[in-house]
């Protein structure tokens, strides 16, 4: 009986998760990460029900291990980028509203290193850009996650507005998927708007 309940519970969870994933249709503005940040993708994306944290949301084309576009819609002062899995044993660094844009790549790096348990993470070129009309930082990075030992490349765009961190990152395996998906991701980034209300 106990076994049957367990199986049933697992199925329900799976169904719910499946029901939560949804299609993002092209050429329509959509608010992301339950935030004032909106984007208008020119192609189809899949929005995953599972979210890395309270103020974030993940889109993918082929699956989140192959291409992963993540929106962070206003990380508040004192908050972490991701949901903390082991707050006591492996606490994540916090965003601070006094951070400079140049501090953001470091915050991303340290959060990834701890969350993924990896020591292979490097930040590459850091440049000034605009994101949703705000002064922003663009940074390239690459890392190897411990589970699959796979080399991934990433690109991040981050702005600090009203004391909150707004960021979009795209990452994919360095072999094929990053180059194949980066332009599509950049189009989404370039369409971003931030409601000033």
């Amino acid at each position: 009986m106990k076994r049957l309940t367990l199986v049933l519970a697992l199925c329900l969870t799976a169904t719910m998760a499946q029901a939560g994933n949804s299609l993002i249709v092209p050429n329509q503005s959509v608010a992301v990460a339950k935030s004032p940040l909106t984007v208008r993708p020119s192609g189809e994306w899949n929005k995953l029900a599972a979210r890395p944290g309270r103020s974030s949301e993940t889109w993918t084309i082929d699956g989140d291990t192959l291409n992963c576009l993540t929106f962070y819609g206003g990380i508040e002062d004192g908050r972490t980028l991701f949901r903390e899995v082991d707050k006591r044993g492996k606490p994540l660094p916090h965003f601070s509203s006094t951070m400079l844009l140049t501090d953001v790549p470091g915050l991303v790096e340290n959060s990834y290193r701890i969350a993924l348990g990896t020591s292979l993470f490097q930040v590459g070129k850091i440049e000034p850009v605009t994101l949703a009309g705000q002064r922003a930082v663009h940074f390239a990075y690459d890392f190897v996650s411990q589970g699959d030992d796979l080399h991934r490349k990433g690109e991040g765009y981050a702005a600090i507005a009203h004391g909150k961190l707004f960021m979009i990152t795209f990452e994919a395996p360095a072999l094929y998927y990053f180059d194949a998906g980066i332009e599509t991701a950049r189009q989404v980034v370039s369409s971003a708007l931030l409601d000033s209300k």
Partner: protein
Amino acid sequence: MMRASWPRGVALLAVALASAVAANAPKSKLTALPPYAGAYEPKTVDERGVWMEADEDERKLRDSKFVVKDAALNAYVRQVLCDTVGADRCRGVRLYIMRVPAFNASMAPNGTLIVWTGLLLRIRSEAELAGVLGHEFAHFEERHTLAQFRQQRFATDVAAWASFFGAYGAVVQQAAIGSIYSFSRDQEKQADLRAFGYLAASKYRAEAEADIWDRLMDEADASAAGRKQRSQRYDGVAFFASHPTSLERSQYLHKLATTNGNDGEDGAATYGKAMADWRGEFLGDQLKLNDFAGTEYLLGQLAREGWTSELLFARGELYRMRGNPRDLLSAAQFYRDALTKGSTDPLLHRNLGMVLLRSAAIGEGRQELEQYLTLRPDASDASMISALIEQSRTN
């Protein structure tokens, strides 16, 4: 089963060591090691199974991007191992240095020796490294993994490594102090004694092995206190449970040193030289773990003979990353101290400039950033720093 067996093992070891005493002019009273059996093939079903898993793990390990391939570093660590256990024992060992910022070393039953870079950062001398490597080799030579496997199937180092490379998302323990050895207390003591034998017969000072333990436990305490956790130092569970207590360990190792002699070299200077090119990198990995108190303790330990510009820079980074207003002021001071000590690292100016800007010392901050760009005009973040300078003028 295990508890009943070790006194006999230790007795055999003692006999073997004692019989060897007369053979050579001793550095210590314990000299020549028992002869090494050489190539060994697994004999039982259990053992073949353990070896098969270890071989499979090694195949994955060999191709892992986490392995540090640097030839000089590998040759150095191997040389210390060979100097410790002797050329014939050392010959069949495959060494893998893994880029993981935690203190760990392990040896699989098929002769795969794994050393994490966090261990290399914390070790102070060749003799200490020899102590750890000797201890791991002792587990290997005594075939403890097999005994442990029989006793508790999943409590082996092999299993720990299988989970390292296992299911997607599996995360290795990144706490500053990992579970260095997952053997029973009896096996630990047995390995300690045998490792002491290796060191006594080598050029190294045998007692060095005991020195590491107090520092590790102090660091674990500092991490726990910083994270508002209670110390696990005397816990009957987790990491230290499988080890003799520090007091017990310290007592029997000191006693051995007293009775058998404690001559030999520490090799602190040669170790420092061998690690010179790597310390900055390993420190960088440690700093990014968000373990303020543990890292502060570790930096204090590394700086026991004075704060070098490299350590001051690292301390500045630690405070900058925590980023409280008071931390930013401290960080600025550490960066300045590093500059005073003669460091020419352009990153010092960059990061000093950033903490000054965050501390509202705009003019000074801008000067430092400009200095950074002068020293490194083609830096990967040059355009961003230029933008920051411009922004600081308009704000």
